[in-house]
Symmetry: C2
Subunit: 463 residues, 2 copies
């Protein structure tokens, strides 16, 4: 009788707490670096995921009481972070990784990159390169990337198939490109591309006029018009090399690149500008006023000797500021961990101030800052209820991570891509314990190596 | 009859070729990046190892015909390089990895590093830290390191036990140190340390006066005298921060650090100087004339905002120039791959010349250049007959290494520590397929984590 009574009371008490809700996936036991506005860090934390979104986040004890799931990931001893956001790349260019290094930009472009592109870039090339780049992105913990290349529709198809989130900018340029021979054709292609992908859960189509020195004033404005028509992002390379500033000044009444595009009314409310090195504080204020997202690519900027962007000033003005790798031809990888390490160090020496940019600021740039730069902060960039479940689980017990005093310091200065254990995008596990689940790694490497032979052969041919 | 005849001729012909010689280990099938004077790269190459030395090197077909061994490593598809040389670190400081970052040098030193050292550094600390550091060095492909710390005798014991090669400098400083309270005591300790280790196959003992601003003129000269007496290296921090230059100028008749130590006759024929940032071309010529080895630590120099060393000028003058990580408290790892990547990029932007320092030059700095900086180029730094068998086998087929066009570019810009597969020092395999054979990785991490708790507690105590 006593036993029955206890069971009865037990049921009652469970009812009083309301029954556990079923969700699609629960991650529990890890240290959660949320990157929310309060920078909450939850030890022994858990995340409940439903329909691709974060349904709840809190202490494991609480989440495991309130939610149940057939799929659980034990993250005890691990660190759980928002998926990294790569705000600037040209993903298929991984096939040109290391094709030419350590040379003048003009020599690099005219002797290697342009001929290699002209002779090799077609839709198949773009698909093979995208698959290789996606594998590298996932394996290094990147869940969202922003691209600018040709045949962006093929890139979108491959990206969606792999379950990766992306802002994909179709390139518009005033020269015949591998996909479209005229600006008018490219504009038409871009409009169709936008219509096709506008409502996809993972893909944000975008318009990407190449740069102020490669696209005319009228064409820049046509690009903006198209972006506005469909309310999609507008992506551009801006204020990268000193030679760009000279060119723009010479051709546009002495205006610098930022002042010139501002003067013609180019900036819309979803602009994303890559590099932004050759700017002063007043120009940074112009970017701030226009809500422009900035993609900082420190390693590419060093390697091409473009310069060091004034990041401390941009942080002071609270710009929408993220990190990018640029294309692998000028980096030579898609690894945001190395960009973080470089970003945290380079601005200290350039300003002679070891406090210039902190590890926490840099980690924010790689997550919520990147989300803001892409105008996607309502969806991604932090671990918060209602945001997309784009989540990375990190091993945190490697030799090079031992011992640990400060979690942001360790994320930026000690953690490597090889510490990325599991990757979840829109609630779906795309890498589990370093094994890719949506891509065939061996097939990808094989097809990339075949392409390399073709590319080398093409460069040895007489033009 | 015919068959017998053929067999007889076969035996004859084998004799004519002389029988295969027995060696201890053969590595075959890999691409050998020798770093010899001609920069030979041998595809499908092999190395025969006997008594800790390279007995032969060449095409696999040739080596496998002339040598036999019970131990063979199949390196097909892999890249084989000379073990990396880390020319500057303070190995036990891995226990302070990330203890304090992003602050002024003086605050960092006086609020964190000095108190943490004063309250924690004893022989046991040094042993635990050294074991952790050795595990990290081996896992990232470093086979020789140059150290400067306290209780260097304990560091030597741990290093020899793990089978790692090192130049170990016992620190001399004009303040009470954790191991010796007076300069005289430290000098005596150092002499005993040198006598004990002078003839060890892996350990080169050395004298390490800390810096021109922490050691008096007389004591610098006493340090040199001791180094000369035993013909061992003399290690010093030199021309690191601008504040050092100001201090030395003020106290030594307006002389810069390099000119001052040169003027007092400090340099011997085996000097190793770390950092060497605040120097002009004339001072570089002084270093060249004295055969001084230079340890370039780009990541530490950026993080502490010390400056960017004039590496292109040093390369022009063909200095003995290597790469170092510095201690993990200011880096925060012992990873030479990231130092290579940074070294190859940072000098491009600082000189505005993308050709400033090539990938091949940087890879040389991490191998044969480092050997020269440590005055050990007759023993290590390249894959050549008669040199010590310090060899690293790299996986070269990861996603982030695909595809491959130029091997030096790939080593410097794309390869990571996680691609290090197997490590051999003095002919002995110390890591096989990423498993450490001379160190217990789990025990090391456990004892390091216990130390961390002790260190945190000590910092929270009132002084």
């Amino acid at each position: 009788m006593l036993i029955v009574m206890a069971t009865f009371l037990g049921v009652l008490s469970a009812h009083a707490q309301s029954p556990a809700k079923m969700v699609d996936l629960i991650i529990f036991g890890g240290t959660l670096v949320t990157m929310d506005a309060n920078r909450n860090i939850i030890s022994n934390g858990a995340i409940a995921i439903k329909k691709g979104e974060i349904a709840a986040i809190g202490k494991s004890s609480e989440i495991l009481r309130k939610y149940k799931s057939r799929n659980k990931i034990n993250a005890v001893g691990k660190v759980v972070i928002p998926g990294l956001v790569n705000t600037h790349t040209h993903i298929p260019m991984v096939l040109f990784r290391g094709i030419a290094d350590d040379m003048e930009l003009q020599e690099w472009l005219t002797k290697y990159i342009f001929p290699a592109e002209a002779r090799n870039v077609d839709e198949d090339f773009v698909r093979v390169g995208t698959r290789l780049g996606l594998a590298e992105l996932i394996k290094s913990g990147t869940t969202t990337y922003c691209d600018m290349y040709y045949f962006e529709d093929a890139i979108a198809e491959e990206t969606a198939k792999a379950g990766v989130r992306a802002v994909l900018g179709q390139t518009l340029i005033d020269f015949p490109a591998p996909d479209n021979k005229t600006f008018a054709d490219a504009l038409k292609y871009t409009e169709n591309f936008i219509k096709k992908w506008k409502n996809h859960p993972l893909i944000v189509p975008a318009v990407a006029p190449h740069a102020p020195y490669t696209v005319s004033r009228d064409h820049l404005l046509q690009a903006r018009e198209l972006a506005d028509k469909y309310d999609v992002p507008l992506i551009i390379h801006l204020a990268e090399a000193e030679s760009e500033t000279e060119f723009v000044k010479k051709n546009h009444n002495g205006l610098t690149p930022v002042r010139y595009v501002d003067a013609i009314g180019f900036f819309n409310n979803k602009t994303i500008a890559a590099h932004v090195i050759q700017v002063n504080e007043e120009e940074i204020e112009i970017l701030k006023k226009n809500g422009v997202g900035v993609a900082h690519n420190p390693q590419s900027n060093l390697k091409l000797a473009a310069g060091i962007a004034p990041i401390p000033t941009m942080l002071k003005h609270e710009l929408r500021l993220g990190l990018g790798t640029d294309g692998a031809a000028s980096n030579n990888d898609l690894n945001l961990w190395e960009e973080m390490d470089t970003a945290a160090k380079i601005h200290k020496v350039s300003t002679k101030d070891p406090k210039a940019v902190s590890a926490e600021q840099v980690f924010a740039m790689a997550t919520i800052g990147g989300a803001k730069a892409l105008h996607l902060e309502s969806l991604i960039g932090s671990l918060e209820v209602g945001k997309k479940a784009d989540i990375v689980i990190l091993d945190f017990d490697s030799v090079h991570q031992t011992p640990m005093y400060n979690i942001y310091s360790h994320l930026v200065y000690a953690t490597k891509a090889s510490d990325v254990n599991t990757v979840i995008i829109e609630g779906k596990v795309v890498m589990k314990q370093r094994r890719l689940l949506t891509l065939d790694e061996n097939a990808i490497k094989k097809e990339a190596n075949l392409y390399k032979q073709k590319i080398v052969k093409s460069l040895n041919q007489k033009p």
